[in-house]
């Protein structure tokens, strides 16, 4: 830390990051006034430093577990990911004591379920957001908005048990991939509605008015002007929502039993996913082969989610709403 120089505080540039905490310029104009102000200024500088220390400490505290987790997962899981088998083979016939096999079955399952979830959730969510921003007035809109808020607060385990109660207990169906998709849809819709709503609100009203002035009907204005303008923001929201549901575990544990073989049918049989693959071998950590697979599967899942997040950021950067 730099020593305190209370005599000429304004001659120095205020410390970066805390522009507003410096004394007012002009305090140095008259020496007597400056010395009169000195105790107060010293107090401010002290507070400034204290705040900065606390801020950095909080930052380090928040960062430490993240770095720790990443380092552990990468160091323990990366060597399996470098084997081509990991990306081309399933776990069929591999017991927790044996080495070998891959995660392609689980990666496929996670991607398929994610894609199916998006295919159902995105149209519903985007149309809901369009309604709320462009059409919704009065009681119905308030009720819809309130319901979306409630959905946002639903824990994933509740969504999973809700679908289990309907799918298995009421209708007597088997636990299949599609049941998982249904519960993931419940979790994805509210997040996408909220992000899409924000994006649509960002679209300047002048664009809509210009369109109306040319005699374009409202629906066409929304389809041709509003949605394209907000497109990149909507895509970002969708990808972030997708990244969130792909790492979801509770619905998978309840509705999507694990299988070690490749299974791509959403409507029949068990479907493996990365979280359930982790869960399967989690109980065998005394076996080094199983422990390695747990770390590698965790790293694969982190990478998948990271890729989706990156894609979301890229779309946001290259296609932000133009003013």
């Amino acid at each position: 830390m730099t020593p305190l120089r209370v005599e000429t505080p304004a001659s120095k540039a205020p410390p970066s990051g805390t522009p507003s905490s410096g004394p007012r310029p002009g305090a140095t104009a008259r020496a007597p006034l400056a010395s009169a102000l000195a105790p107060r200024a010293r107090g401010r500088v002290l507070r400034d430093h204290a705040a900065r220390v606390v801020m950095w400490a909080a930052f380090a505290l928040a960062l430490a577990p993240l770095v720790w987790i990443l380092w552990t997962v990468v160091s323990k899981g990366s060597h399996l990911l470098l084997e081509s088998q990991w990306w081309t083979h399933s776990q069929r016939g591999i017991t927790s004591r044996r080495e070998g096999g891959g995660a392609v079955h689980a990666i496929q399952g996670t991607l398929i379920q994610g894609a199916a979830t998006a295919a159902i959730a995105v149209p519903v969510a985007v149309l809901t957001a369009v309604y709320l921003v462009e059409y919704g007035r009065g009681k119905l809109a308030r009720v819809v908005s309130f319901m979306v808020d409630i959905l946002t607060g639903i824990p994933s385990i509740v969504a999973a048990l809700f679908v289990y109660a309907i799918w298995v207990t009421t209708f007597g169906f088997q636990r299949v991939g599609f049941a998982v998709v249904l519960s993931l849809v419940l979790l994805m819709v509210p997040t996408v509605v909220r992000s899409t709503e924000e994006m649509l609100k960002l679209v300047p009203n002048e664009l809509r008015e210009a369109s109306y002035a040319l005699g374009v009907p409202k629906w066409k204005t929304i389809v041709k002007v509003v949605l394209p303008t907000a497109f990149s923001g909507i895509v970002t929201g969708v990808l972030l929502g997708l990244a969130r549901v792909m790492g979801e575990t509770a619905p998978l544990l309840i509705l999507g039993p694990y299988t070690k073989s490749i299974a791509t049918d959403l409507f029949a049989g068990y479907m493996p996913t990365l979280p359930t693959m982790i869960n399967q071998d989690r109980n065998e950590l005394a076996q080094s082969a199983a422990a390695d697979r747990v770390w590698a599967a965790a790293l694969t899942l982190i990478l998948l989610v990271l890729l989706l997040n990156l894609a979301g950021r890229l779309v946001a950067r290259f296609g932000s709403v133009k003013k």
Binding site: Q85, T88, H89, R92, G93, V104, F231, V315, G319
Partner: protein, 372 residues
């Protein structure tokens, strides 16, 4: 428009990754475990299809081996086993979610909470459900105590440790049966299974039968003693591994894998160490309890036979005697036949299980053949 192109790109990337992932292989018989692919040509009795089972985590390693070798022989068949615990397995079986359940105790024939499992199963199957003993798993009383390689415990001492009456390792009751062993004054830390478990049920049955005065609680899948709960066998075994002075009950394989100390048990005929042989003696002494092909066993936990290790569990496969779907039944039969074969049973010894004694095995094979 730029924005749309970016979105399109994201879409293409997603579909591309899907397509990339769409080419994978289920064939791990090649380089994975050294066995040449197709070394065992599919026999003519190989059905195809998928079989789903769920239940006991005690037999997980055993059934995984059996599934791996079965799928090697019958590449058209897939067997899935989810080790969610005996209680969950039976619930899913009764709910029609799985083709058979693995359970560490036979279906209850006495009511609990107003329901009799055996009746519920008969109702679901439309025919009696059979309990087929398949895997014998000794329960190791595992401890972690530095410098103590050999520990002998009697049923009363075990019961008092697990119900919290004996709290330190140098308690006189332990010292009495361990003459010549220096026991530390460390407190005893008991770990138990927090999930519903057949291991807990068999362990408490043993305590109840062998030390009825010290252990008065009714045996059950949920733990009624003292201690700290951990999930699944790996949880309790891992906790003992990490805790000096810890003790728990877990399947033999978990105790071995975690390199825990395993106590010798003295039922009255001298201390007996845990081994395939000493467990086999206890299983052979068991009596058949069910009728016809329902092969529930009545284990004599209080046995005083010399050299018989009395703390063990038998995992049953619970099946409908008359299946609802003929294709599934054929697959179930083929898999269970393979599981009960002498060769498969023998291979289980390496991973901490005891093979079924021959007289029990032939009965199981006959029952499997009678499944329709």
């Amino acid at each position: 428009m730029k924005a749309q192109r970016a979105g399109l790109l994201a879409g293409v990337a997603m579909i591309g990754s899907l397509a990339l992932a769409a080419c994978g292989s289920d064939d791990n018989t090649g380089s994975a475990d050294g066995a040449p692919a197709g070394s065992s040509s599919p026999s003519s009795t190989c059905p195809t299809g998928t079989l789903n089972a769920e239940g006991s985590s005690a037999q997980k390693n055993a059934i995984e081996e059996a599934i791996a070798s079965f799928q090697d022989t019958c590449s058209g068949a897939t067997v899935n086993y989810n080790p969610t615990g005996s209680g969950a397995g039976i619930k899913q079986f009764l709910a029609g979610q799985v083709d058979f359940a693995g359970s560490d105790s036979a279906l209850r024939t006495t009511p609990k909470d107003g329901a009799v499992e055996a009746q519920q199963a008969q109702q679901y199957c439309g025919s009696p459900a059979w309990n087929l003993p398949m895997v014998t798993g000794p329960i190791a009383i595992s401890y972690n105590l530095k410098g103590v390689d050999k520990l002998v415990l009697t049923p009363e001492v075990i019961a008092n440790i697990f119900n919290g009456k004996v709290t330190t390792w140098n308690d006189p009751s332990i010292a009495k049966v361990n003459a010549g062993v220096t026991l530390p004054s460390e407190p005893i830390k008991v770990f138990f299974r927090s999930d519903e478990s057949g291991t807990t049920e068999n362990f408490t049955k043993y305590l109840n039968a062998a030390a009825p005065k010290a252990w008065t609680a009714q045996p059950g899948k949920g733990w009624t003693g003292k201690g700290e709960g951990k999930e699944k066998s790996s949880g309790v075994a891992g906790a003992v591994k990490d805790t000096e002075g810890g003790i728990t009950y877990a399947e033999w394989s978990y105790a071995k894998d975690n390199k825990l100390g395993i106590a010798q048990v003295d039922n009255g005929a001298g201390p007996v160490a845990l081994s395939g042989e000493s467990v086999g003696k206890a299983v052979a002494a068991a009596k058949q309890d069910g009728q016809g092909n329902d092969l529930r066993l009545k284990l004599d936990y209080a046995t005083k036979e010399a050299g018989a290790y009395p703390v063990l569990l038998v995992t049953y496969e619970v099946v409908c005697s008359h299946g609802k779907d003929p294709a599934k039944t054929a697959l179930t039969k083929a898999f269970l036949e393979h599981f009960a074969s002498a060769q498969t049973q023998k291979s289980l010894e390496d991973i901490g299980y005891a093979p079924l004694p021959d007289e029990v095995r032939t009965k199981v094979a006959a029952a499997i053949a009678a499944l329709t």
